[in-house]
C-alpha cells in the first residue's frame, strides 16, 4: 500500500456508507475499531498526573472555604455569633442565614423549597454558616470559632418507626413523603393458583457513595459572570441549578468539569456548598475553593436509602410464577429525595408474572437526604426478589437457573410494551454455561458433605435496569480540520466510564480516522454542547448515536464539497480509504484532505443531534451474575472465589473499559452485600457513628476475587439506536449482593435476609444455630 503521510486514516478501513440527508444511519454490521480492547484516550493524563480535577485547581489570589454544620439530627438554631470568627487570622468572609446575599436564597429538593441556610436543621450535617480564609487551616479555625447554640429536638433515625404515633414530625405535614402503588392482574387469584407460596421480610442498609474525589468546587467571579470548577457528573445540570438558585442567566454561569473523581449518582447535582462557594467568592472578590471533608460527604451529599421490604410470591411446581406481592418502606432522609424511588421495578418488570402488586412508602427521617445511587432502588429489590427466587426453586426442587429461565417475559410488563431486545435468557443461559453452573453446584454440594468447616456455595441472580436506552436531548459537534485531524466537542462528563474514549472510537469508526487523531473537548458549559448528566447508564446510548450523527454530518458536507471538485453529484460519491470516489467511475477520485473547499475553509463542522427512541418499545439492558464462595463456619469469615457477569448491554464499544466497568460493578455490589452500612446512633443521639472509611468499610483489594469474568452478550439491537448500544454501568451492580446471599445460603443453609452480611452477622447466625 502506498505510503501516505496524511493524518486521515487509510489502511484497511472501510468507511460506513453515508446516509443521504434525512435518512437514518444503518446498523454497523462490522466494525474496525469499535469493540476492540483500546486503552483510554485520556489514560496518559490520568496516570501522569496531568489530569486536573476540580480539587486540583489553584487560581491566583484564591482562598479557601469551609462550612459550619449542625451537629444534631434535629435542632433549632438559637444562636449564631460569628464575631470572633470574623476576627481570626486570614478570615476574609463569613456567611450566615442573616447575610443579605444568602437570606433570600432557596434550596430545592423534590418538590420542596426551603431557605438555603435554615435555622431549623433536620439532619446532622445541615449547613449553618460558611467562612473563607487564606488557608484551608485558617478557614477551619474560623468555623470552630463560631459560637452556635441549638435547641435540640426529638429525632427519628429508624425509618421503620417513622410513621409511628409516638415519634416527632419532621415536617408540618407529617413523616410520609409519598406512597406509590402499582398493580396488575389479581394477586389473590394468583396466590390461589400457586402450589407453593413463600413470604419473607428483607432489609438492606443505607449505603454511602463516598467517591474518591471529595465533593466540592472552585468558584470565581468576573463581574457578573461566575465560573465554577465542580466535581460533577453533569456540568449543564450544575449550571441550571446554580443559575436558578442565584437568579442568573444561564450564559453567565460557566461550569467546567473536565475530570472528576467518581460520583455514582451523588454528583448529578451541585450542593449547597457550590452556592456558598459562589457567595463567598462574590463577597471577597477572590476565587474560593471549597472542598468538603470526607466526614461531610458522609452526611450531606446523598446515599442509597435503607429499605425494609416484604415479598410474598407464589409459584406452580413447574416453576411458573403466579403472583408477587411486594411492599417497601424506605427513607428519603430529612427532605423529599426518592427514598423508595424505583425500588419495585425488578418486581414489576424482570420475571414473567401476571399478578403483581407493589406498594412503597417513602418516609422522612432525621438524616441526610438521599441522592440517586447507581441503579436507584434496584439492588435493594434484587436482594429480596433474587433470594425469593432461590427459595422458591429449592422449595419446588428446581434449579435456580431453570426457574429463572422458566419466567422470561415476552414484553416489558412494567411498561406493557415490547423490548427492542431482551438478552435476559441469553445472559442466564450463556452465563451459567460459561460459569460451569451445574458442575459447580455439584462440586460445592459434594465438598460440603465432606464435613469440613470450610463450606462452599454458588449463587446467581439476574436483573433488568429501568432505563439504559438513553435518549434526547444531546448535541455533539465534530470538526474535521484540513489535515484530516478531528476535534470532538460534547458536553457530557466522563465520570470514569470511558465516555471520551468510546466516543472517539465511534467517531473514528464512522469517519475512518485513527482514534488518536481525535481530540476531545467536553464538560464545559461555555465551550461544549448541551448534554444531560452522565448517569442512569444512559451516556453511551445517548451520546454515541449523537456522535455518529455529527460524523455523518461531516461526511455529507465533504461529499458535497468533493462534488464541486469532481463535478459529480454528491449522491454518486462514496468514501474509499482516504479518498472520495465516484461510484460510477473509479478513476474519478480525490483525497479527502485534497478537497478544495476544505483546504480553503480550513475545517468542516458537523453537528449531530440525538434522535428519538423507538416510540412503542422499551430499551433496557439485562444481566445475570454468578459467584462461588467459601465460608469458614468457625470464624464467620467469607471468601469470594470467583464471579462472572453476563451482560446484555447491546454493542460493546471498547472491550477494555467495558470489562473494567463490569468488574467495578461487582466490587460495589460486594460492598452493598457484605461490608457497607451507615450506622446511626438510633437510640441515643441520632448521630452518624461511622463517618469515615475506617468505620465504614469499602471493599479493598483483599475483599474481591482475582477471578472475575465478563461475558458480553451481543445479540444485536438495531432498533435501540444507531450504535445498537444500551447502558452498562448500573446493571453490573444490581444482582451482585443477591447472588452472594444465594451462594451463602448454599454454603451454610442460612437465609440472610438482612444486608450486609458482614463476618459479624455471619458469626451471629452461626452461633444462633449452634445454640439452637
Amino acid at each position: 500500500m502506498a505510503e501516505n503521510n496524511s493524518i486521515y486514516y487509510t489502511e484497511g478501513l472501510s468507511i460506513p456508507e453515508t446516509p443521504a440527508p434525512g435518512e437514518e444511519p444503518g446498523f454497523w454490521k462490522q466494525t474496525h475499531v469499535v469493540g476492540k480492547r483500546i486503552p483510554r484516550v485520556d489514560a496518559y493524563e490520568r496516570v501522569s498526573g496531568a489530569a486536573v480535577y476540580p480539587s486540583d485547581i489553584t487560581l491566583p489570589n484564591m482562598i479557601y472555604g469551609a462550612i459550619l454544620r449542625c451537629p444534631h439530627p434535629h435542632a433549632n438554631l438559637t444562636k449564631l455569633d460569628v464575631s470572633r470568627a470574623k476576627k481570626m487570622p486570614g478570615v476574609r468572609a463569613v456567611i450566615t442565614g442573616q447575610t443579605p446575599e444568602a437570606k433570600k436564597l432557596k434550596w430545592q429538593y423534590n418538590g420542596y423549597s426551603g431557605p438555603l441556610l435554615d435555622t431549623r436543621c433536620r439532619f446532622e450535617g445541615e449547613a449553618v454558616a460558611a467562612v473563607a480564609a487564606d488557608t484551608h487551616y485558617q478557614a477551619w479555625d474560623a468555623v470552630r470559632a463560631i459560637d452556635a447554640a441549638y435547641e435540640v429536638l426529638p429525632f427519628v433515625a429508624d425509618h421503620s418507626k417513622s410513621l409511628s404515633e409516638d415519634v416527632p414530625d419532621i415536617h408540618e405535614n407529617g413523616n410520609l413523603v409519598e406512597m406509590d402503588e402499582y398493580a396488575r392482574g389479581d394477586v389473590a387469584r394468583g396466590f390461589d393458583a400457586a402450589e407453593v407460596v413463600l413470604e419473607n421480610t428483607y432489609e438492606t442498609q443505607c449505603e454511602l457513595h463516598t467517591p474518591m474525589e471529595l465533593h466540592g468546587c472552585v468558584a470565581s467571579w468576573d463581574k457578573d459572570r461566575l465560573t465554577l470548577w465542580e466535581s460533577t457528573q453533569g456540568v449543564y445540570a450544575v449550571q441550571s441549578e446554580i443559575s436558578d438558585v442565584l437568579g442568573m442567566p444561564l450564559s453567565k454561569v460557566r461550569v467546567i468539569g473536565h475530570y472528576m473523581g467518581g460520583g455514582f449518582g451523588s454528583k448529578l447535582k451541585p450542593g449547597k456548598y457550590t452556592v456558598l462557594a459562589a457567595l463567598l467568592a462574590r463577597q471577597t472578590g477572590r476565587p474560593v475553593k471549597l472542598i468538603l471533608t470526607r466526614e461531610e460527604t458522609y452526611m450531606c451529599v446523598g446515599n442509597r436509602p435503607a429499605s425494609t421490604m416484604q415479598l410474598k410470591a407464589g409459584v406452580k411446581k413447574d416453576g411458573t410464577l403466579t403472583a408477587c406481592d411486594f411492599t417497601c418502606t424506605g427513607p428519603s432522609g430529612a427532605y423529599p429525595a426518592g427514598g423508595t424511588a424505583l425500588v419495585d421495578w425488578q418486581i414489576r418488570d424482570l420475571y414473567a408474572c401476571d399478578n403483581v402488586r407493589c406498594s412503597s412508602e417513602d418516609v422522612y427521617i432525621n438524616a441526610g437526604p438521599a441522592r440517586p445511587f447507581r441503579a436507584p432502588g434496584h439492588p435493594q429489590a434484587s436482594w429480596a426478589l433474587e433470594q425469593m427466587m432461590d427459595d422458591l426453586a429449592h422449595k419446588i426442587g428446581m434449579d435456580p437457573v431453570a426457574l429463572r429461565l422458566k419466567n422470561i417475559p415476552d414484553i416489558s410488563q412494567g411498561r406493557n410494551r415490547p423490548y427492542t431486545s431482551n438478552g435476559l435468557k441469553a445472559c442466564i443461559e450463556k452465563g451459567a454455561e460459561q460459569f460451569g453452573w451445574e458442575k459447580a453446584v455439584k462440586q460445592a454440594r459434594a465438598h460440603n458433605h465432606t464435613g469440613t468447616h470450610i463450606k462452599r456455595g454458588v449463587g446467581m441472580g439476574s436483573c433488568v435496569w429501568f432505563v439504559g436506552g438513553g435518549g434526547p436531548p444531546s448535541t455533539v459537534i465534530i470538526k474535521l480540520f484540513r489535515d484530516g485531524s478531528v476535534n470532538l466537542n460534547m458536553g457530557a462528563s466522563d465520570i470514569g466510564t470511558g465516555t471520551k474514549t468510546v466516543m472517539a472510537l465511534v467517531a473514528a469508526e464512522e469517519l475512518g480516522v485513527k482514534p488518536e487523531v481525535i481530540q476531545i473537548e467536553h464538560a464545559d458549559t461555555e465551550t461544549t454542547q448541551y448534554a444531560t448528566p452522565s448517569g442512569g447508564s444512559k451516556t453511551v446510548p445517548t451520546e454515541s448515536p449523537t456522535v455518529r450523527n455529527a460524523a455523518i454530518a461531516v461526511k455529507r458536507q465533504l461529499l458535497e464539497m468533493a462534488s464541486e471538485d469532481l463535478n459529480i453529484p454528491a449522491e454518486d460519491l462514496a468514501y474509499e480509504g482516504d479518498e472520495i470516489i465516484s461510484r460510477k467511475d473509479k478513476n474519478k477520485r480525490i483525497q479527502v484532505t485534497g478537497v478544495s473547499r476544505l483546504k480553503k475553509r480550513g475545517v468542516v463542522v458537523g453537528v449531530g443531534y440525538r434522535g428519538p427512541n423507538p416510540a412503542d418499545k422499551s430499551v433496557n439492558p439485562f444481566a445475570a451474575q454468578f459467584c462461588e464462595l467459601e465460608v469458614n463456619t468457625k470464624t464467620g469469615e467469607m471468601q469470594i472465589l470467583r464471579f462472572l457477569s453476563a451482560n446484555d448491554s447491546g454493542r460493546v464499544l471498547d472491550r477494555l473499559t467495558y470489562d473494567n466497568q463490569v468488574f467495578g460493578g461487582i466490587v460495589m455490589g460486594i460492598g452493598f452485600g457484605m461490608t457497607e452500612f451507615r450506622q446511626l446512633d438510633v437510640r441515643q443521639t441520632g448521630r452518624l457513628c461511622n463517618r469515615n472509611w475506617h468505620d465504614y468499610k469499602l471493599p479493598t483489594a483483599l475483599d474481591v476475587p482475582v477471578d472475575m469474568e465478563s461475558l458480553p452478550i451481543e445479540i444485536g439491537d438495531p432498533e435501540a439506536n444507531s450504535t445498537g448500544t444500551k447502558g452498562l454501568g448500573e446493571p453490573v451492580t444490581i444482582p451482585t449482593a443477591a447472588a452472594i446471599a444465594n451462594a451463602l445460603f448454599m454454603a451454610t443453609g442460612i437465609r440472610f435476609t438482612r444486608a450486609p452480611v458482614t463476618p459479624i452477622e455471619m458469626r451471629r447466625h452461626l452461633t444462633a444455630i449452634k445454640e439452637g
Partner: protein
C-alpha cells in the same frame, strides 16, 4: 527534596505534606481523599517507601527524599508502572490512581517479582471506589514484567 530537586517552603507546623505538595507547591498528582490515612490516594514514596502524605507533617519531610507521581515521569514519557496502568486500563475515574501507582512502584522496588498475594497486600492500603482492582492487579503484573526488561 522532592522529585529530585530541593524545595524550600515555609510551613506551619500543622501543615501536612499533602497540603504543601498540593496547595503550596502545586504537585496535584498526589490526591486528597480522606485526610486521615484511610484511602491511600495521597500515597508518595518517602525515602523509597510508600507512605500517606496526609498522615505526614510537612516538617517531617525535611531532608527526606519524596517522590510523587510526577517524579515517575521521564520527561513527557510515562514510567513503567504508569505505562502498565495505561495498557491494562487499571483505573476508571483515575482519582485513586496516583496512589495505586505509587504503591505498586514501592512494592516492585522491594519485591520485583511479586506473587498475586503480594500485589493484593501491596495495594490493600489504597481504596478504589470504582472497583478497578482486577485491572490494577493486572497492571502490577505487567509492570513487574516491564521492570525486568
Amino acid at each position: 527534596h522532592i522529585n529530585g530537586a530541593d524545595r524550600a517552603v515555609l510551613v506551619e507546623p500543622r501543615w501536612t505534606l499533602l497540603y504543601v505538595l498540593r496547595e503550596v507547591i502545586g504537585l496535584t498528582g498526589t490526591k486528597e481523599g480522606c485526610s486521615r490515612g484511610e484511602c491511600g490516594a495521597c500515597t508518595v514514596l518517602f525515602d523509597g517507601i510508600p507512605r500517606y502524605a496526609c498522615m505526614t507533617l510537612a516538617v517531617e519531610a525535611q531532608g527526606c527524599n519524596i517522590t510523587t507521581l510526577e517524579g515517575l515521569m521521564q520527561g513527557e514519557e510515562l514510567g513503567p508502572v504508569q505505562t502498565a496502568f495505561l495498557e491494562e486500563d487499571a483505573f476508571q475515574c483515575g482519582y485513586c490512581t496516583p496512589g495505586q501507582i505509587m504503591s505498586v512502584h514501592g512494592l516492585l522496588e522491594k519485591t520485583p517479582q511479586p506473587s498475586m498475594d503480594d500485589i493484593r497486600v501491596g495495594v490493600s492500603g489504597n481504596l478504589c471506589r470504582c472497583g478497578a482492582y482486577n485491572h490494577i492487579f493486572r497492571a502490577a503484573r505487567n509492570a513487574a514484567q516491564r521492570k525486568i526488561k
